[in-house]
Symmetry: C2
Subunit: 342 residues, 2 copies
DNA sequence: CTGTTAGCGCTTTCAC
DNA sequence: GTGAAAGCGCTAACAG
């Protein structure tokens, strides 16, 4: 592999000159620039990114930490989309993406910290939202550059981009109310996630705001899987006064709920309405097609990356927060009284 | 940030000693090892991965190239699984994963080559299988270390791990035949992919082997999307003598086919049988649940990574190929004559 | 077992 | 506009 030295010799200049034409310095005569370019081509020279990093003290890489605990099967549809979003901005800045993803949260935390501390990455985007994750405290204390997709409950000075989950819960529930349902239950995700807490809050808000009574037995927690959604729904249907509509905090769980309802012989949306969250591809493929609140995953990625780029370049230090809205998508599972049709 | 030099001073040793304890050399007294460890801890020292890479001439990172052309929406379920597989072996070897993924195949190729040439990654795993992709020729000519998930048609000396797609096509078709169907059509993916070609071959083999006649009009190409599957199926159903079973080369297309069939008023599996490929989560969630041939995606990732690790460590030079079998998963869409039940 | 000494390939003052 | 020289932080012979 030829080095800059080789190129310099061949072009009859010094290495610093070669370095300059590579980095696009303007204080270089067009002639030498040409000569150097030619030499690089002839030698098939490609600058060594590692050496460049060492000298310039920037890795040119950012880390993406994807929480992938077993419950997070839902991450499947989320994952490629955030990456697309992130990638779309990183590539403009010439950054690479290092992926950190393990089944074990401990390992994940260790790897994230290690990647940052070893200077392998300049910063990180973390997708997670556990109610209390020691990772963030470490990150903040060590003054690492990072952006969270989700949000933290503690008032740590953290930059994040999140979707407005309280509103998401509110919109979904409100839609069911407007569609004419009256006994609305919620199947929430594990409460160790902030996102779950937020959506529950939105649900409660819509319920009480509509003058309905919040019933404890109408709120059940489940994992993010289809099976747990089905189980949860079955329990709800077995109540003395079963709900006539179900808001599941995730499409996958919603699909489980749909199954439970159908199995029990009830009709959707006539007897029971259902709405999920995400607008997973699954939602439109199901029969009946699932109403849902669409989350702008691609955009979450875009903004997380943009903010991180700012943190890295402008040396920005004030944390920046950003909240993106969801969009109601009405399909077939939620139009009991024909008020809506999709 | 403290460096090795700082640690060395504090521990009263030389930098090479520090280096040795870091790399776990055995020719080191327990005492000094302790002393150095203590110094590292006190200074909160973390070795600089970039510097280490420069000196040792290995990046400690491998690239994963994920083809994500628009047609490849199906990559959604594929993607996280391969990564899990790859990650499970990389982490054992202390390697990191750099993700290369763009919508534009040109850019993708450029980035892949750049990452390798700039020594940012030691090797790469490429998921793609276009019939003729110039990338592979380059990779081979430049003697890059890489493993393909999929396979190439040209006889380039390439290491790859693939699933046995001819067999997959054969199994699916054969199953339909055994289930009692007689007019079996195939909806294939775009023929620019080797995988499509292979599955078609398997389909033809099963057809002719069963003494049936291969009918041109029963083989239609589609993209990998649901819509294109639905369109393709509609065309098939409009034939003078429509098929009584459909083998779709992918679950997503199969779901489209199912929709077209149901819309046309036919029953599944009584009137028309359907089988897909992949065992996408979608397959088990659909109603009727989709019969399919399961592809061992996680394992593909595992083996690709293992082979790459060998290439990198043993300096292995002989390309290694590996072919993994699929598994028939019979569900509800393919048991016309009650021969099968799932 | 441990220290000395060269680099790894590039960036970046600081001169001219 | 261009060159010389001093690192960036670590590894890896080579001595001893």
């Amino acid at each position: 592999m030829p080095t800059m030295k080789d190129v310099a010799q061949r072009a009859g200049v010094s290495v610093s000159t070669v370095s300059r034409v590579i980095s696009g310095s303007d204080r270089i005569s067009a002639a030498t620039k040409e000569r150097v370019r030619a030499a690089m081509k002839e030698l098939d020279f490609h600058p060594n990114a590692i050496a460049r990093s060492l000298a310039s003290k920037t890795a040119g890489t950012i880390g993406l930490v994807v929480s992938r605990s077993p419950e997070n099967a839902f991450a499947n549809s989320f994952f490629p989309e955030v990456i697309r979003g992130i990638g779309s901005v990183l590539s403009k800045h010439g950054y690479y993406l290092l992926l950190i993803m393990t089944d074990d949260p401990e390992v994940e935390r260790a790897q994230t910290l290690a990647a940052l501390r070893s200077r392998r990455v300049d910063g990180a985007i973390v997708t997670s939202s556990r109610v209390s994750d020691p990772l963030f405290r470490h990150l903040v204390e060590e003054k690492r550059k990072f952006v969270l997709i989700g949000r933290v409950l503690d008032d740590l000075p953290v930059s994040y981009v999140d979707n407005d989950n309280v509103k998401v819960g509110y919109m979904a529930t409100r839609h069911l109310i407007e569609a004419g349902y009256r006994r609305i239950a919620m199947i929430s995700g594990a409460t160790e996630y902030v996102v779950s807490l937020d959506r529950i809050e939105g649900y409660k808000k819509a319920i009480t705001e509509a003058g309905m009574e919040f019933r404890k037995e109408y709120l059940v927690n489940a994992g993010f899987t289809r099976e747990s959604g089905e189980d949860a729904c079955r329990k709800l249907l077995a109540l003395e006064e079963p709900p006539d509509a179900i808001f599941a905090a995730d499409d996958t769980m919603a699909s489980g709920a749909v199954r439970a309802i159908l199995k029990s012989g009830l009709r959707i949306p006539e007897d029971v309405g259902v709405i999920g969250v995400n607008d997973d591809p699954l939602a439109s493929m199901m029969r009946p097609a699932l109403s849902t609140v669409r989350i702008p995953v691609f955009e979450l990625g875009v903004w997380a990356a943009r903010i991180l780029m700012d943190l890295l370049s402008n040396g920005e230090t004030v944390p920046r927060q950003m909240v993106l809205p969801g969009t109601l998508v009405v399909r077939e599972t939620s139009s009991a009284r024909g008020l809506f049709s999709a």
